[in-house]
Symmetry: C2
Subunit: 323 residues, 2 copies
């Protein structure tokens, strides 16, 4: 038999309303009554039902995490950080793969609102930025920039890309290819701009190709690039997965890494250490970004003041064996 | 203003109880009343609140997914499959990382029960198997074997391991090392047993080392093995991540893969295709297993009969460039 609030009231010899006031920490309660209620709760092992509380408070102690696709190796670490922080505050995490499809995203927003989810972290956004204001719940943008009204956590993408490009030049690369990420996705665009800025400033030969964050396409585009530009001796890839694709192409072309061609990726996911040779990359603070985003979300949910809406995390060059 | 059940009742000119009967498809309702209610629901765009329904039905259209750690690259594809199937049935997924810690697992069970989660998929189990019966909700064991009373989805681990070992022997390996997974974890034990059975039957030289599914430990153990057994010319690793660790060790030892040493992994995760040379492995039907497990859970939740409790999925040898 499950203990009900009525059992607690009877045991404590108070009204149900009094138990409710204690549970919700609202309204006047005499010290004696409070102690009686707390004792009853303990003795009866009463657990206030969280669904009932959701209904009452319109809150569920749940947050939603919208991702493009958890099988993209950038996301598990981010998801892990979100879940760790959420858990430490007593929130559970509902995770949603949108495949960058607007319809899926909408469906999730509706479904999670119905469950009184307390807030959402968006690592993807395919609706108009004004749309997000209509859902009247706390939001945080993570690795995406959606609107000034939504607290945002991103990496110093441009600065990282500049450092990557500079590193290839310092390692004596004369003709550098950039495997660009999806056009229109802000972090990828920022990396592209950082690359161009340094390549132009240093007066080095360069070429770029549009890719997605996919290994197959990166391999294909790298093979194409080498057909038209066999002089390429350095590659800056917009992600570590893209870099892995480039390495496959070089293996097929019988080019040695790093002797013939040097490669720098971007992300710092575990994949980079698993590649042979291991990948030089621009390390993002993935876990810390996930932590910060979750903290910002919970601060909003708990109606704490948020001083800064825009948070940029530093990146760092990690030199391994591809440069 | 949100539409309430009362608005619907007023609009349809029936009682709230009648609307409730229509919504829950329970008890007698006249055809006229039903039509009026359905029309009112449509006109008013009424969405029965899912938290209220949870409370009433003790169901939430949520399922829990317990994993050791989403950053272990075996799990994202599994999680993706669970979420895809759940979504197609209108369920959302709460995901939980237990780090194989019993206390965390317990905490999640309690937290999710409080939210009337409809069922849970366990890819990890650290409590006594009898403990799971106490939580009176549908469960499915995925990639783990917990109890005969819990529907179970696993790979043909032993058979896959036998095929891996046979393949190394066919590729002329004379002395094979097995990097064993965590002792006591059933899939890892089954792979170990499959390896031993073939090695013994074929009368080949062999050695084994205990590892976890971790890249660092696998590298370390491989270096140790080669110190004591420099004649090793084949490695069967209990997971693809373990195989990646072995490849790093061989790179350090200046051994060529596959010329000097051949390697077979187990899992068939994307990492294998990203490694250079790409990894020969035993492919599990990871996505299909996730689908099946979710289907079995939803069947239980919806009180459909389950014919078979134990589901073994075939594995297949995928020959790439390490053998």
């Amino acid at each position: 038999m499950m203990t009900t609030i009525k059992d607690v009231a009877n045991y404590a010899n108070v009204s149900v309303a009094t138990v409710s006031r204690v549970l919700n920490n609202k309204g006047y309660i005499s010290k004696t009554a409070e102690e009686a209620v707390l004792k009853a709760i303990k003795e009866l092992d009463y657990r206030p039902n969280s669904v009932a509380r959701s209904l009452y408070h319109k809150t569920s102690n749940m947050i939603g995490l919208l991702m493009p696709d958890i099988t993209n190796p950038f996301f598990p670490e981010l998801a892990r950080a979100v879940e760790d922080v959420a858990m430490s505050y007593g929130y559970t995490v509902v995770f949603c793969n949108t495949d960058e499809e607007m319809e899926k995203e909408k469906t999730y927003f509706e479904a999670l609102k119905q469950k009184y989810v307390d807030g959402m972290i968006l690592t993807t956004s395919n609706m108009d930025s004004t749309k997000y204001d209509e859902f009247d719940i706390p939001l945080v943008a993570l690795d995406r920039i959606i609107s000034e009204r939504i607290p945002t956590v991103v990496s110093e993408n441009k600065k990282g890309a500049m450092e990557a490009t500079q590193h290839l030049i310092e390692r004596d690369c004369k003709y550098i290819a950039h495997l660009r990420g999806p056009v229109g996705v802000r972090p990828a665009d920022d990396r592209y701009n950082g690359f161009i800025e340094i390549a132009e400033k240093e007066g080095i030969g360069y070429v770029t190709a549009d890719t997605q964050f996919s290994i197959e396409l990166a391999e294909e585009k790298t093979l194409e690039l080498f057909q038209s530009h066999p002089e390429i001796d350095g590659i800056f890839a917009s992600s570590d997965v893209t870099a892995a694709g480039a390495m496959h192409a070089l293996f097929k072309l019988n080019k040695q890494v790093p002797q013939d061609v040097k490669i720098v990726g971007f992300d710092g996911i575990p994949l980079g250490t698993m590649l042979v040779p291991s990948l030089t990359t621009i390390q993002q603070s993935i876990y810390k970004m996930g932590e910060k985003a979750t903290q910002l979300l919970i601060d909003q949910i708990e109606q704490k003041a948020i001083d800064t809406y825009y948070h940029e995390f530093p990146t760092s060059l990690v030199v391994r064996h591809t440069t």
